[in-house]
Symmetry: C2
Subunit: 285 residues, 2 copies
Amino acid sequence: MTTIAIAAPGAMGAAIGAVLAQHGARVITPLSQRSAQSQQRAQQANIVDCSAEALCEADIILSILPPESALSWAQQMAPLLQAAVHKPLYVDCNAISPETLKQVAQVIESTGTPFADAAIIGLPPGEQNPTGPRFWFAGPHAGKLAQLSDYGLRIRLMNAQNGAASALKMAYAGINKGITLLTSAMLINASRVGAAEALREEMQESQQALLKRMEKAAPDMLPKAWRWAAEMDEIATLNQGELATDQLYRALGEICRQLADNRQHDQQFSALLADFFQPDADKAG
Amino acid sequence: MTTIAIAAPGAMGAAIGAVLAQHGARVITPLSQRSAQSQQRAQQANIVDCSAEALCEADIILSILPPESALSWAQQMAPLLQAAVHKPLYVDCNAISPETLKQVAQVIESTGTPFADAAIIGLPPGEQNPTGPRFWFAGPHAGKLAQLSDYGLRIRLMNAQNGAASALKMAYAGINKGITLLTSAMLINASRVGAAEALREEMQESQQALLKRMEKAAPDMLPKAWRWAAEMDEIATLNQGELATDQLYRALGEICRQLADNRQHDQQFSALLADFFQPDADKAG
């Protein structure tokens, strides 16, 4: 039986762990310092509690964490991995830039532990995403992870170096979230000078797919704008200097902060966006 | 018979003039200082040569020019309009920011000439756009322009101040061109680290409409990147300070310049984009 360790039973980690367990893997995670909620989530997913040392006895460690914890968790694990006789394959699955990924890889590889770069693209497996997200693996050890398809995961191998999976995740998120932010900001700008109705009519005529996308994406984005700011800052470090995408994503990060900040104050931006998509809601009231 | 003056018989101006003439308007433009090509285009469109003074005798003047000429042409016309007994309605139809529009309006209104703000959205009338572009009019004199629908133009009136039509045009172009530039830049970034194939597969799965849009938009954009740079700079002045769209569009302008510059050198960016959309073209060769 293959033993797979999950760094933490967050929303994504627990859902992935549940799929692995359902397909016959032994799934472990250290629960002693986790909240009652996380402990319950792990139990429901058939994820078994273990010590931090026992984590190193797994065949594969999947680091699935909030992006800002990816490096510090690797640093915590390093002495345990150093001491372990049997080295697991350590897979960083986090939404971090290739720069940060390189630092994580150095920490892990310096202990003699094999390392792979991964990108998880899509929502956690569950009602909203029955087929589950896709896992992309890069780096010299990626091939060993093909076996995870036997445990219910959707696996794709990239013929590319460590960092390529991180870059994929950054580019994919950068495009999708960037479009939502750029378009939202311009809808707000147009609305503030009385051009909302005309812009909506023009988009209905010639940009139907985009208008439909934005009707859902803009209101979904607003409550997450603060979290997106950190993500835009991380994306700004992707291939810095090649093209001015660093400036571009720093500006998008700033727009996230402005939208988030405005939600705490007069909420004029969210009101303008709501009115753009539902112009008759006010008039009917 | 209504007389309509066109500032210059460029691609858009001549095509609009042709539609107006077909529908029974008398269309005039000064041709003496124009190229043989422009003179021929005017003749084919049934646009009649006139002096700069005679331009002021029109009922309506449509300023349809390259954006950078909008203000200087208004300044040239101002003394003639000042001297004219009968004042035409001067309509600025150019892709300029509300800031620039305000300057044009001040120049024209100081001569006692009524002024309207217009946005032309869409390609010139012709084979590629049989129904023609849409004209949006703003400002206190917009209502007088409703009659242009009798002369074959697609007219929409905005219930908004001067500047709103310019803002509409900026926002519409900013969204459409911004999406093309942002996405192209990230496709290049991902391609440079070996993530092109994976990103294409992910977009085929979850972003089909965007992928289809980009297949046409990215190669169409590259030869125009230099011209787009000036347009992004102009869009950067839209509602400056409200949201960080000034930073955002300055970055997009910089990316335009980098793409245009790269076309003069090793063309690696256009090669990466071509390969992204046609991955098998190289391999088959």
